[in-house]
């Protein structure tokens, strides 16, 4: 969980001043960007490495014998248990186990699920699609709505719309994602009093799902409530970030200049202020992706949406440590990669950071 964005510690990554803008000109600038991108990529690789190392040692802290956990307490005779321990590599020295683990992870062999007795990588591959649909749709709506409303609120700051927006985002920020999901489930899926429920309560599709183009409609119908929940929680953050970022720009000289030139209010906003305020906001959108992932776990659990979040939740209930470990690494890696891409994109797009 992150605190409300206004208290975000400024830019959440280092804005390193690039070297003096010497006579290199355009080519020098491009080389700086490339060097920056390489440095960031190196950092990302290091971070992913830290995830792998942390995962290995964390999951060794689990009390009890992994071989017994794997058999789900089905009694085995000692010889069978030894054979299983040998298969799982538990009889090797710690260092060797670690190297094996790294090797397997790098070749995308994430182990075998205790619950399903199937490769974890396959389970994850099956579940990625629904999560991408949910999080992708949710993010697109949340970002557009948040940026639009944040812009409007900041431009007329102090207005009724502004106070309403800030108040609403404060409330939404205080609401736990899963509880909002339960509320929507209660009102729109189960129905209140005489009003019948209009949306399905669980899953992505029913057993009698239609084929062809109707199938998309069927899934979309199931998607409404989970997506609404995710959007409500996530968009408040974007609203606040966009609002405070645009408020910073409004006081700048170039905005006054644009007004002095006689531009219409609308043009000053759209052509001058918003593009400048947009850059830090878009980066924060990506920085908060970890928060979105957390929200997705709650949402998928409440609505039994068959994605990665639900897989992770089921692994916790088991507990199925193999699945938990695999999902954890995949999710963390995805988040780190997204962040790095956003970071580099920001650097390329915003000349102010480059020649600070």
């Amino acid at each position: 969980m992150t605190a409300p964005s206004e208290v975000d510690p400024g830019t959440p990554f280092d804005v390193e001043p690039a070297g003096p803008a010497g006579p290199g000109g355009e080519r020098g600038a491009r080389r700086t960007v490339l060097r920056y991108a390489l440095a960031k990529a190196g950092g990302a690789v290091l971070s992913i490495g830290m995830v792998i190392v942390a995962t290995f040692f964390l999951f060794r802290l689990i009390p009890g014998d992994p071989a017994i956990a794997y058999t789900r307490d089905v009694p085995l005779d000692p010889a069978q248990l030894d054979r299983l321990r040998h298969q799982m590599g538990l009889d090797k020295p710690l260092m060797q186990q670690f190297l094996d683990f790294v090797g397997r992870t790098l070749t995308l062999d994430l182990g075998t699920s205790y619950e399903y007795k199937r490769p974890v990588a396959d389970l994850i591959a099956e579940r990625v699609g629904p999560t991408l649909v949910l999080v992708g749709t949710g993010l697109v709506i949340a970002v557009s709505l948040g940026l639009w409303q944040g812009t409007r609120a900041a431009w007329k700051h102090g207005s009724r719309f502004d106070r309403f927006s800030t108040g609403l985002s404060l409330v939404l920020w205080s609401v736990p994602t899963f509880w909002l999901g339960l509320l929507l489930l209660m009102v729109f899926a189960a129905g209140v009093g005489p009003i019948p429920g209009i949306f399905p309560t669980r899953g992505m599709e029913d057993v009698d799902a239609p084929d062809g183009p109707l199938y998309l409609l069927h899934v979309a119908h199931h998607l409404v409530l989970p997506c609404l929940t995710l959007v409500a929680v996530v968009y408040a953050q974007y609203l606040l970030v966009m609002r405070s970022s645009l408020l910073d720009e409004i006081g700048q000289d170039y905005v006054t200049t644009a007004r002095a030139k006689g531009l219409r209010d609308d043009q000053v906003r759209r052509r001058h202020a918003v593009p400048n305020a947009l850059l830090p906001t878009v980066t924060l959108v990506f920085i908060h992706i970890g928060f979105v992932v957390g929200g997705a776990v709650s949402v998928e659990t409440v609505y039994s949406w068959p994605g990665l979040g639900l897989l992770f939740y089921e692994a916790i209930q088991g507990p199925d440590f193999a699945v938990m470990q695999g999902t954890f690494m995949v999710v963390c890696t995805a988040v780190i990669v997204m962040n790095t891409l956003a970071d580099v994109a920001y650097h390329v797009l915003d000349p102010r950071v480059r020649s600070a």
Binding site: M1, T2, A3, P4, E6, V7, D8, P9, G10, P12, F13, D14, G43, L46, S47, M50, V51, L58, F59, L61, I62, P63, H157, L170, V171, W173, S174, V175, P176, T177, F178, W179, L182, L183, L185, M186, A189, A190, T201, L247, I287, G290, F291, G294, V297, S298, T301, V302, F312, Y313, I316, Q317, F321, M324, F328, V331, C332, V335, I336, N339
Partner: protein
Amino acid sequence: MNITWTRRRTALSRFWRDYRRQRAGLYGAAILIAAVALALLTPLVTDPAGMDVTRATGAKMAAPSLDFPLGTDESGRSVLLMTLWGSRVSLLIGFMSALLSMTIGTVTGIAAGHFRGWTSAVLLRITDWFLVLPSLVLALVLAAILGGGTSTIILAIGVTSWASTARLIRAQTLSVEARPYIERSRALGAGHWHIMTRHVLPNVAPLVLANTTLQVASAIVAESTLAFLGADSGKVSWGGMLRGSYDWGAATSGAWWYVLAPGLCIVAVVMAFTLCGRALEAVLNPRLRGVSR
């Protein structure tokens, strides 16, 4: 009465005068005082026997009535009683994990801002790592691995939520250390420890206070989410109650009291902490004062 104490007293009264002007902050503080008072009074005015599943007296899943103002749960316990007792667990975990998170964040932030070179680089990398990773997922993994219990949940939330604080404190430390009196005290022979504890810490303390208040809010949300997803402390908390309501299908079978009571409590307390935190920030950070944020 020596001079420092007089100075501190005037500073405190000035702070209170400024804080009083923040209407939202006052509402927040009032809700908080009420919530903490209720949580502390609960063992004095209620009988914990009602929390025992085997000794529950009500009908199962009964709607609110005079005997049970907020209805009953799936084993006939009073939801009102559970909400009162649950507040103790939720608030305790919220406070303690915020404290832990602030301690880690402040120490890391000051150290990363004070020292140069390797120390700072390594600390920053670790901070960024924690900042980027999905903290809820990490906390769930920690709680699942370390097994249940109140201290595990506190640890899981505290360890995963300190990174933004560390960033904030580091930025503040850098700006404090750029001031001339730090150079003067260094010239007079002050060591790292002296500078960090005597000069930097007092300067970042107000920021830490405001941030802790906000941190408690997110810690309570985190606790309820963890409990809902199955990583609970073994005691009834608001999140745990919602988990029970979900397992029983309360939301889809019309048992609104079981879903609303704990949820509204979470929202009220979290909002109160957020309002207080923002008011503190506005008072302590004069830069925010002019613009209405």
